[in-house]
């Protein structure tokens, strides 16, 4: 939306240059003096933080929607955080160890931590939270499924006992994924309706102040935070702006300091990135492992033929998809595991070559010759609205070139979930299934035959069934040895690729937009879903 361009009158430009020149010289001469000052974080200031949509809850103990994961960690912390290599860093836990058989996780907890209501934080809170996660959290039910007991030999030690190894467990302890909540607030209540969800009490650097529905959440500095001196900010104003263009305008006018997502339309990003007061960062989304995939409905006899599926693979030009639909913000991702999950993704897998001749030949061989009208057969295509309509249009046009007539239907989110996972009347669907922090919770659900569950969102709606894949998935889920587990996942990716079980397309980049005065907003794989204890605003 560039309808009014700033008219720069030549006179004004010259004057600006004349004024700017001495300033430029001054900054050129001063770097030595200036560097230490800017490296020292400054106390104070208000951060105006954009959360794209209003969350339904402010604590991710029983629900994990994107907006909630942005707000929750500021108030409610986790046991650890993760750096850019997915390496755990101390948070509420200062030290941890895993037994060689992978069945015992011991956490030493940070002493002297208090909840925002003044009560002390102890191992009992950790034990209670882990059990809540196991029983109520959408992903935690899987992650902590094998937890039999959490022992608390002393107030600062928590030992998680498992019945089977859960090698992804140590990656699941980020505040956004597995928050530690106060036992005394939740005990004896239904965690789904507990008032803490809308007025949270945590141990985090920020204390919940108010939530005006439809408008904002206000968080105040916690003066008693365990990391003394932090947080640097006085206050965080969390604003919800539903309209993409309105978000662009708010960034442009300087009414927002920080937001992620990307928070604005990808077509608008380049214009905003060019503004002198704004910076952007694509790091800090690895924990989410975003992916865009094309899934088949294996109950359709046409798609049971591997040649047809491979032909569809050869008909899609992934680089073009990335540049046209995603404006280049992302990576081509041909493997079943997102390239953001660097510990598991197999970089040797390359996209099916873009080759229309080959695609046509495969379809001819499969027994679907072109009819008089130039088409071979028709398929129904759905698209998760999160991907945007353009992605569906792209696939439709690409497949038309090889004679597959695509009936593309685009719905709102709720209708899509219902149609794709309950009534399942699709042949192809463009899904946007995040791989999360580990392929067991993130990828297994799509290809595991035992997860074909009608009516369950993000399950194996393809109805893909393969005993070899099942074996690999089940082995990888309980393999405590890192190298062996990685090998299992490598085999799995190769198998899915060779079988054309799905076509994996793009790993879209998240993009954080920030005012250049805001520092330390992205310090690990959780990005702006971190606690913000380290964030400061340069004066």
């Amino acid at each position: 939306m560039i309808l009014f361009r700033r008219s720069a009158r030549p006179g004004r430009k010259l004057r600006a240059l004349a004024l700017g020149l001495p300033a430029l010289l001054a900054t050129a001469l001063l770097p030595l003096a200036a560097t230490p000052a800017s490296a020292e974080p400054t106390r104070g200031g208000v951060l105006r933080f954009l959360v794209e949509h209003e969350p339904t809850t402010l604590v991710t103990i029983a629900h994990t929607a994107g907006p909630s994961t942005r707000v929750s960690p500021k108030v409610t912390e986790g046991l650890v955080t993760y750096d850019f290599d997915f390496k755990p860093q101390p948070a509420l836990a200062t030290d941890w160890s895993v037994s060689p058989d992978g069945l015992l996780y011991t956490f030493k907890l940070r002493p002297g931590v208090t909840w925002h209501d003044g009560k002390p934080f102890t191992a009992a809170d950790v034990a209670y939270s882990i059990k809540l996660l196991r029983d109520h959290h959408p992903r935690g039910r899987g992650t902590f499924a094998f937890v039999t007991e959490v022992d608390t030999p002393d107030p600062l030690t928590a030992i998680i006992r498992l019945s089977k190894p859960a090698p992804y467990l140590l990656a699941a302890l980020d505040a956004s994924e597995s928050p530690i909540v106060p036992k005394h607030v939740y005990e004896g209540t239904d965690p789904l309706t507990n008032k803490n969800a809308s007025a949270p009490i945590g141990t985090g650097p920020f204390v919940f102040k108010e939530w005006v529905k439809g408008s904002h959440v206000l968080l105040e500095r916690n003066p008693n935070y365990w990391d003394s001196g932090k947080p640097y900010l006085d206050r965080i104003v969390v604003r919800f702006i539903a309209d993409l263009s309105a978000r662009s305008a708010a960034f442009e006018t300087g009414e927002l300091d920080l937001g992620g997502g990307p928070p604005v339309a990808r077509s608008d990003l380049a214009r905003l990135q060019a503004l002198p007061h704004l910076g952007s960062d694509t790091r800090g989304y690895e924990y989410n492992g975003s992916m865009t995939q094309l899934y088949f409905n294996f109950d359709n006899p046409i798609l049971k033929d591997k040649r047809v599926r491979l032909a569809i693979g050869h008909a899609l030009d992934l680089n073009r998809l990335l540049n046209v639909v995603y404006f280049g913000y992302g990576k081509v991702a041909p493997s079943a595991i997102s390239p953001y999950l660097t510990n598991f993704s197999d970089p040797s897998i390359k996209p099916y070559a873009f080759d229309l001749g080959k695609a046509n030949k495969l379809l001819d061989e499969a027994g679907f010759p072109k009819k008089a009208d130039g088409t071979r057969f028709s398929l129904r295509l759905y698209c998760n609205p999160f991907n945007g309509q353009a992605a569906g249009d792209f696939v439709k046009q690409a497949l038309a070139k090889v004679g597959i007539a695509v009936d593309f239907q685009f719905f709102d989110f709720s209708t899509y979930i219902q149609k794709a996972y309950t009534s399942r009347d699709f042949d192809l669907t463009l899904e946007s299934l995040s791989n999360t922090f580990d392929p067991t919770p993130g990828v297994q659900r799509v290809f595991w035959s035992k997860n074909f569950k009608i009516g369950l969102p993000f399950s194996n709606a393809s109805h893909y069934e393969n005993s070899e894949v099942d074996r690999l998935l089940e082995a990888a889920a309980v393999e405590p040895d890192t190298a062996k587990r990685r090998a299992l996942w490598t085999d799995f990716q190769r198998f899915i690729y060779d079988d054309v079980a799905a076509i994996h397309l793009i790993a879209p980049d998240g993009v954080t937009l920030f005012s250049k005065k805001v520092k330390n907003h992205t310090l690990g794989v959780a990005g702006i879903n971190a606690s913000f204890a380290d964030v400061y605003i340069e004066k």
Partner: protein, 348 residues
């Protein structure tokens, strides 16, 4: 003739109108009748809405699980049970009607709070926006219409007609965005969204001024479409009335042109405008959805939109019930107002 003149001279008219609005037995009877008619009407609306909403594919549990990006069969079952979606449809309806009978709008499963509270938080924001927009649109529209009628066929009329046509045809969201681009991004005069400067500690005059600054752009965006309608309506009605015999009589009596225009022409021409304004008050809610989204205005329209997207039917039913009540009430009010403007109209 200029707009301020009309406004100052219309003061006695308004005084006369309010004097007549003091309830007489006739009016009270009419109000009682409206109230009695309203109860079955609203009940039918509630039941129809209830079934209509169930036609939408997907439910609140699907959406919540979808948003979470993960789910297990157990979480889905727990969500359905919590929202009462596992009950038979008729049982759900009777449960809802039972709630209503106790003046409760039920609970929002999505936000985990009572619907009445959720609506109550948003209602003032939307009401102030709607009333300001409608009031502003009426004032400006009628003034512009009167000017157009007075200069019918001349360039003032033509220019205003073109402007009205533009306002009528440009979609509200686009006007909203363009106003933001001009007044917030380029000129930096007004904030681009929100209802107040959050986190700023304002009090007294500063707080009121801050709110007013946030109100300007949304109100204008919402009002422009209606300004166009009222201007055209007033113009047409005034031209029609001007040709009536009693206007000639009034002139012949030697009344000043201003008195003729305001007391005789405008007053009679207001009838169709008030009818439309009454209808629009209900329709404004639709416009409010768009404007509230563009300006991140924490109002009822946005809540309704989010309730649709989240399949939060209890909230949606509550909003629909409230809007139908408002429409019924406004219709009754408009009937009374019309009877005041034109004593020949019977209050039924």
């Amino acid at each position: 003739m200029s707009a301020p003149l009309i406004l100052s001279k219309s003061a006695p008219l308004i005084a006369a109108m309010s004097a007549r609005l003091i309830p007489s037995p006739r009016v009270l009877k009419a109000l009682r009748r409206s109230l009695l008619q309203a109860i079955p009407t609203v009940l039918i609306i509630v039941i129809l809405n209830f079934f209509l909403l169930r036609l939408a594919p997907g439910n609140a549990a699907d959406v919540l699980a979808g948003e979470a990006g993960a789910a297990t069969a157990e979480t889905m079952a727990a969500l359905r049970a919590r929202f009462g979606l596992d009950l038979p449809l008729m049982e759900q309806l009777f449960a809802y009607l039972g709630n209503l009978a106790q003046f409760s709008l039920g609970q929002s499963p999505r936000y985990n709070m009572p619907v009445a509270e959720l609506i109550g938080q948003r209602l003032p924001n939307t009401l102030i926006l709607m009333l300001l927009a409608l009031g502003g649109a009426l004032a400006v529209g009628i003034a512009a219409g009167a000017v157009m009628a007075a200069f019918a066929g001349r360039w003032t009329d033509r220019a205003l007609s073109v402007l009205a046509l533009l306002f009528y045809s440009i979609p509200g969201f686009w006007i909203g965005l363009m106003l933001i681009v001009l007044f917030s991004v380029k000129l930096g005069w007004l904030p681009s969204g929100g209802a107040e400067t959050i986190g700023a500690v304002h009090s007294g005059w500063d707080a009121a001024l801050d709110r007013a600054r946030h109100l300007v752009l949304p109100t204008v965006s919402l009002a422009l479409f209606y300004v166009a309608i009222y201007a055209r309506l007033t113009r047409g009605a005034m031209l029609e009335v001007k040709a009536q015999d009693y206007i000639r009589t009034a002139r012949a009596k030697g009344l000043s042109p201003a008195a003729v225009t305001i007391r005789h022409t405008l007053r009679n021409a207001l009838l169709p405008v008030t009818t439309m304004a009454g209808v629009h008050l209900g329709g404004l809610m639709g416009g409010a959805v768009v404007v509230e989204t563009v300006y991140s205005w924490p109002g009822l329209g946005r809540l309704a939109y989010e309730a649709v997207m989240g399949r939060d039917f209890n909230v949606l039913l509550g909003i629909l019930l409230l809007s139908s009540l408002i429409v019924v009430a406004v219709n009754a009010l408009i009937d009374l107002l019309q009877a005041t403007l034109d004593p020949r109209i019977e209050v039924r």
